[in-house]
Symmetry: C2
Subunit: 489 residues, 2 copies
């Protein structure tokens, strides 16, 4: 056959290397500045205007300046964004950004094998299956479990809903009365997953929580009983192992019992919290997760990867397969033919062609080993505890004691204070902390007796966040309290 | 705040650069060998055994050899796979593998901004929106259209089914009688998308095709009329713009008319064929695609990207949004607030967090310009025509004249020959061609009067495939015919 380039669209090997080295040089200089710069990043109207101004047209010819021009545009664009991977970014659920995973993305794309069907790429399929098997073991699942890498928690949760729907309700298109149970603290992607899967909006039941904002298993039992008696079709319960609001873990063992009693699918959305099983303290708190029928976890959260990697694990792997495998022609699985074969992602999920997603987790595990991930999980729990302890000396209340790495806190309500005024004070506190641009916190609302209360939250999950950053947050909180003392008192 | 590393999990800047340079060196040397080596690659039992042998355990400590060890394992694993991006790979739909896209994957992961909500990363959101707008214009959609980058055609088609379902059937969970129309030549991901979305299996209607294997608009009209009269609920027609089997384009204009008359959603699965609109000949053949309600295209096919990028475009963007946006709280869209803002992917698709997917297409467009993509699209059409012409002098029949870059062909049936014997001869021909390992073809079955006939197919879509590779295929076909002459005659 003919030899390599020069051909249009294919750089010759020297150009390929020059491009990559240029990217490496940029990243070497810019990544620290981007990651360790101001904690919030530039957003809002100014960012939109700047983005429009620097957006190069898509033209017939290459961009002026070639790679250098593109890298400059990208670097400027990256500044117009929340600094989601910085050490002072304690908002929402912080993004990871392990560079070893980025290198995996480069290599996976460059090798570009077809990993939709394991038989088309046995080598890569095996590496991906190795990681999934490791993950299943860490979560307490056995050899009959099967897993799938998705792009994140939303599609992992969607796969769980589809599997549960298929198993309990079949595929006849009649989902009237189909009912799914979760708490008000569940991530909003759960409702979206149900909707995409055709579950009627009227079938989303919000199970009441206890004062610690945990789904109440007794109330769940009541609801299931009443709904079944009324002729509805309960089929799935979604518990949270680490809510976004407060990091709360629903009582998994008790919920498992209720699900077993009512024969409904027990899914655990552990997208945020699941990887705390990697350390002893976390594994203890997550006891019961292995009793789930399915679990969603997000390596791009708890394993600090860049955005774009979730995973769904199903205890009885055949149920995942039954919901996703298409035709009878495929029922003669390669697994049966070769004892060394591994499952095909296309039989276990929605995609046929797909990128070599698992490499983004495999490479970090190879380059760092699993040990540092365990240490980091333990460190994050300790950092949240450190922050919570520091609050004890301050005029701050903690409405829910932290279980994982989220600490929700707020100014206490004054006697007779209107809810709106209280919320206003907490919003002012948040703004005063963030204005310093050394840490960036977000807020949420938590239920109280007379309405939703604005509550600040710190979520420490970035691998770059260490004790100094949490201490900085305390310092800035104290300064903000002082600054607002006049206005607040 | 504290300064960069050394921290566990974060390489210091020197290590970061050293890793990247090592990857670049490997790719410089290995990519040509992998891309231009044997056309098929190593698969089957030997590959499974080799994969198991080289699969490193996931240990607590880093892999021995560090990055070098991991790169060695990856390179060996990559050989245990179909060579999907090689110039002689004419099987299925060839994979792309533009290196500029791989570089985009590296940079997107390294910058790691949150691109689920445009407001969180206005700069990157704008670059992604630019590419989608360009794409929509090429396909003939207007300013009111909206698009979404997915991981491939499967999820793009899924998004179309969900949008159509929401628009025509609502979200009450009652999809009894819901009916979707497509031909036997549709990609199998269409049925899967329907199933995931809760459309009953009994509601998948196979519309008969004409002798050229195109969906027959008259028969579609008949079916829609009869189903509606019988109380069924037709809601969607899926046409193919480039079938996988033969590259056939369904009659889009006529189907658009039927869909308009019956008020059903008109979706075009152009995952394989859509990007031929980039050249004049292709745009002419795809006339009518802009009348669709939605279009799925795969940049990892027609724009030669590595696996992992599809796109869904919806003519009336509000319909896409209505099906995917979650809560009333989000209805006050940022678009309305800032004229420079762009849509959020999380409002238009299933994912909330996600990687910066569009960068994998933006960077190639910047580094190469759009021109070479147009040239490449025209070249692929010409190459298929070249192959088809070369067949005229051979004892080969072409059951369907090629419209795009697929050529389906086979040995003619002998008088009185049993179907099984005929199929056996064609399988032998395929094996004899592929055995030479210079080109790799796949086969399919096409309907004939007395059953499905094994038919070979060449699909030329790799950006590395040029005239010499197609000519090599002809040479090997001729040699295979000679070789089998004894057995075949």
């Amino acid at each position: 056959m003919s030899s390599p380039p020069p051909w249009p669209l294919e750089p010759d090997p020297e150009t390929l290397e020059r491009w990559t080295v240029a990217a490496a040089e940029l990243l070497r200089h810019e990544l620290p500045a981007l990651a360790f710069g101001r904690a919030d990043g530039v957003t809002g109207p100014r960012a939109w205007a700047d983005a429009a101004a620097l957006s190069p047209p898509i033209a017939e010819a290459p961009l002026a300046g070639g790679l250098d021009g593109a890298l400059a545009a990208l670097t400027e664009s990256a500044r117009l964004a929340l600094n989601t991977g910085g050490p002072g970014y304690f908002a929402y659920v912080p993004g990871g950004g392990l560079y070893s995973a980025a290198l995996g993305a480069l290599l996976g794309d460059a090798f570009n094998r077809f990993t939709g069907l394991a038989a088309a790429a046995p080598g890569f399929a095996r590496l991906e299956a190795d990681v999934l098997r490791w993950l299943a073991r860490e979560l307490g699942f056995g050899a009959e479990s099967r897993g799938l890498f998705t792009t994140g928690g939303s599609l992992a949760n969607f796969g769980a809903v589809v599997s549960a729907r298929h198993h309990h309700l079949g595929d006849d298109g009649d989902y009237r009365g189909a009912t799914l149970y979760t708490s008000s603290q569940a991530h909003r992607c759960v409702g979206k997953a149900a909707r995409l899967a055709g579950i009627p909006t009227a079938g989303w039941r919000e199970v009441p929580t206890d004062p610690a904002l945990r789904l109440d298993p007794g109330r769940l039992d009541d609801l299931l009983r009443a709904d079944r008696a009324a002729g509805r079709r309960p089929f799935m319960v979604v518990a949270s192992a680490g809510t976004t609001n407060t990091g709360t873990i629903d009582p998994l063992e008790a919920i498992a019992d209720v699900c077993a009693a009512h024969d409904v699918w027990f899914h655990v959305d552990a997208a945020y919290g699941g990887f705390f099983v990697l350390c002893d303290a976390g594994r203890e708190r997550l006891a019961g997760v292995s009793r789930a029928d399915s679990i969603a976890v997000d390596p791009h959260k708890g394993m600090f990867l860049p955005y774009g990697l979730g995973a769904l694990l199903v205890r009885d792997g055949q149920r995942l397969r039954a919901a996703h495998q298409e035709t009878a022609a495929y029922l003669q699985d390669l697994e049966a033919e070769d004892p060394l074969a591994v499952p095909s992602p296309s039989d276990l999920g929605p995609e046929l062609s797909r990128g070599f997603r698992g490499l983004r987790l495999w490479l970090p595990l190879m380059l760092h080993g699993a040990g540092p991930f365990r240490d980091a999980a333990a460190e994050k729990l300790a950092l949240a505890r450190r922050f919570r302890e520091a609050l004890r000396g301050l005029p701050i209340e903690v409405p829910v004691e932290p279980e994982l790495s989220v600490v929700a806190f707020r100014l206490p309500r004054r006697a007779g204070e209107a809810l709106a005024a209280w919320n206003e004070r907490n919003r002012a506190l948040l703004a005063a902390i963030n204005r310093r641009q050394r840490v960036f916190l977000s807020s949420t609302t938590l239920p109280t007796q007379d309405g939703d209360a604005v509550t600040l939250r710190l979520c420490v999950l970035c691998f770059r966040s260490h004790a100094a950053h949490v201490d900085q947050c305390v310092t800035d909180l104290v300064a903000a309290l002082d600054e607002l003392a006049g206005a607040l008192d």
